[in-house]
């Protein structure tokens, strides 16, 4: 879990949607990096741009309607944003694996599990049929699917949600990618399965040494599963830190408020859970100041006028003029 050698590094990424007069910046100046065997959590509420950021950084976000306006995304020494579609496609599935949110809809209902796994391998390798079958069997067994020979002949609708998510993980990892993108992989699963899938992903990460970009809105999952975390708000990273530091001493008022509104076992049930007043400003209505200022209890006149930039502290970085003091 060393972060000194990032395998994936995104710098100053800016993304907009639409064209002409309707063109709106939705993600602005986002930077992050993932090391070998490391998990970076990207958290934020719905619509803050976390999925768009991650999908655009590996070229999977369809364009149009989205446009990458600037920045770079380097996998090893390749800038993904400068690659031609054909070259990008060769990386998808081989060096970059993706696990999607909903296992119910991410498998093609008209093909058997075996056919879909073969597809994943066939796109990037020239194995013989026998070699391919052994590799598929080994992978299925590795992700904890019992009776793999039988599963291979089954259709997605014959499998439970947990099994399907395991199949999707097998598909994403079968070519041994360096970077795994997990876009809310556990949101559609119940809590028990969620824990199992997370444990599986952690084991596979330690074994195969890939970096994981983990997109989620669940802070509990982040605390369990991630090494570092980047908190996004209205298209920007407002705070990034090691997980223990972030949970112990959040510096940005947004992170602070998010953590305060998370229910805990030891919280007093008679006191209502704190909420964050107001709404996320829609893209296009974000002024020159800090986009959280309107909802921030610590806001000062300066917050409305100039947007703070991300400054590195001792445990991480935050973008705030008046950070929450370390307790």
């Amino acid at each position: 879990m060393n972060s000194e050698l990032p395998i994936f590094r995104v710098d100053d990424l800016a993304i907009s949607f639409g064209s002409g007069a309707q063109r709106t910046r939705v993600v602005d100046g986002v930077s992050f990096h993932v090391g070998r065997g490391e998990t970076l959590g990207i958290v934020g509420e719905s619509g803050c741009g976390k999925s768009v950021t991650v999908m655009s950084s590996v070229g999977l976000q369809p364009s149009p309607p989205s446009h990458v306006d600037g920045g770079s995304a380097r996998l090893g020494d390749v800038d993904l944003l400068a690659l031609r579609p054909k070259a990008l496609r060769r990386l998808w599935g081989s060096r970059i694996g993706v696990v999607f949110q909903d296992p119910m809809t991410s498998l093609n209902p008209v093909f058997t599990i075996g056919m879909q796994l073969r597809e994943a391998l066939a796109a990037h390798t020239n194995l013989t049929d026998a070699e391919r079958e052994t590799r598929i069997m080994a992978m299925l067994a590795r992700v904890g699917i019992n009776a793999p020979e039988r599963r291979l002949r089954q259709y997605p609708h014959e499998l439970s949600g947990g099994l399907r998510q395991r199949v999707l993980i097998a598909m994403a990892l079968i070519c041994g990618p360096e970077l795994l993108i997990a876009d809310e992989p556990t949101t559609a699963l119940d809590v028990t399965l969620q824990a199992q899938i997370l444990a599986l992903l952690r084991d596979l990460r330690d074994e195969m040494g890939m970096g994981i970009l983990f997109v989620t809105h669940d802070l509990g999952v982040v605390a369990q599963f991630c090494d570092r975390v980047a908190v996004m708000y209205a298209g920007r990273v407002v705070e990034s830190a090691r997980v223990d530091a972030l949970f112990r001493a959040p510096r940005h008022p947004y992170t602070h408020a998010l953590l305060a509104s998370t229910p805990r076992l030891d919280s007093d049930r008679r006191v209502p859970l704190p909420t964050i007043e107001g709404m996320v400003p829609p893209p296009g209505a974000r002024g020159t100041g800090c986009s959280f200022a309107a909802r921030c209890p610590r806001a000062q006149p300066i917050c409305l006028g100039t947007a703070p930039s991300l400054v590195a502290g001792q445990d991480g970085a935050f973008a705030c003029h008046h950070p929450v003091p370390v307790p």
Binding site: L60, P64, R89, R90, L91, W92, G93, S94, I96, G97, V98, F100, Q101, D102, T105, S106, L107, N108, P109, V110, F111, T112, E119, A120, A123, H124, Y155, H157, E158, L168, M171, A172
Partner: protein, 280 residues
């Protein structure tokens, strides 16, 4: 029980189609008379066509020709029109629709606006214009019908492809590095097959009737070559006195269309893996 019934119907439909195909292919051997020969005893003394009887099984038409022979030879024309014209229009429509639906952008816009243009253009007028350019023959007529009919298929396939390409499994295959062609023809196309099959089987009746219309206007299959459509049109003025002249080829068209429909429906069910598991 329901599947058994459906299977029996499907077998019946298949038998009917096979009979028609065999009859058309072997018309030279099966037909009791040449289809274009007019018989002196084929009309009554007043000049009216004969009803179905011992010598002329399906009766005779207004010129005293044997209707049974004409229906057999007409099957050749109608099958070619129904299968070839329909097949070509399905092929064009599917290709245009799937490409426009998946690629979208300016390619999709150009393709679909062209489709709209073709749709807005009166089909018959277009067919007449096309038929005027080329000398009418069976194959030309089939192509003309295909050119007119692909538009609806393209529309249906387009809208289905648009919804399908938003589905997550398409995104998932894309993230595995599959090429565009592969995604379209291996992952999206199977989902379109049910709609295409249903449309194709419905189209058989439409194309056979369109051919009849063209024949009626004199730009279809040229008389005296029979087709089911032009038999009906030639004889329609005798409908009240000699109903069999319209009824028999009409029934042939309806039965053929229904048979293809049943067959298509059975195929659609057989192709669906979620339904396959239930029956066994």
């Amino acid at each position: 029980m329901r599947t058994l019934l459906a299977d029996r119907l499907a077998i019946l439909a298949l038998c009917f189609i096979a009979t028609i195909v065999a009859g058309a292919a072997g018309a030279h051997w099966f037909a009791p008379f040449p289809p274009e020969e007019t018989f002196f005893d084929g009309l009554t003394l007043e000049g009216a066509p004969l009803p179905p009887g011992e010598k002329y099984w399906f009766g005779t038409d207004l010129l005293g020709r044997d209707l049974f022979s004409r229906v057999l030879f007409g099957a050749q024309t109608s099958l070619v029109i129904g299968l070839v014209a329909n097949g070509v229009s399905l092929l064009i429509g599917t290709l245009v629709g799937i490409v426009a639906g998946y690629v979208r952008g300016w390619v999709g816009t150009v393709l679909m606006r062209f489709t709209d243009l073709m749709m807005a253009f009166p089909a018959l007028l277009l067919a007449i214009a096309l038929a005027a350019l080329f000398t009418p023959s069976l194959w030309i007529v089939a192509m003309v019908i295909a050119m007119v009919n692909w538009v609806q298929v393209a529309r249906v396939v387009y809208s289905l492809t648009v919804t399908l390409s938003e589905r997550e499994f398409v995104e998932a295959v894309r993230s595995l590095g599959a090429t565009r062609t592969r995604i379209l023809f291996r992952h999206v196309l199977p989902h379109l097959l049910p709609a295409i099959i249903v449309y194709g089987t419905l189209g058989i009746a439409t194309t056979v009737l369109l051919e009849a219309t063209l024949s009626f206007l004199g730009i279809g299959v040229q008389p005296p070559t029979p087709s089911w459509g032009n038999i009906i049109f030639e004889n329609q003025s005798y409908f009240s006195t000699a109903p069999w002249l319209v009824f028999i080829p009409g029934a042939a068209i309806v039965l053929l269309a229904v048979s293809f429909n049943i067959l298509g429906d059975t195929m659609r069910v057989a192709l669906d893996p979620t339904l396959r598991g239930r029956t066994s």
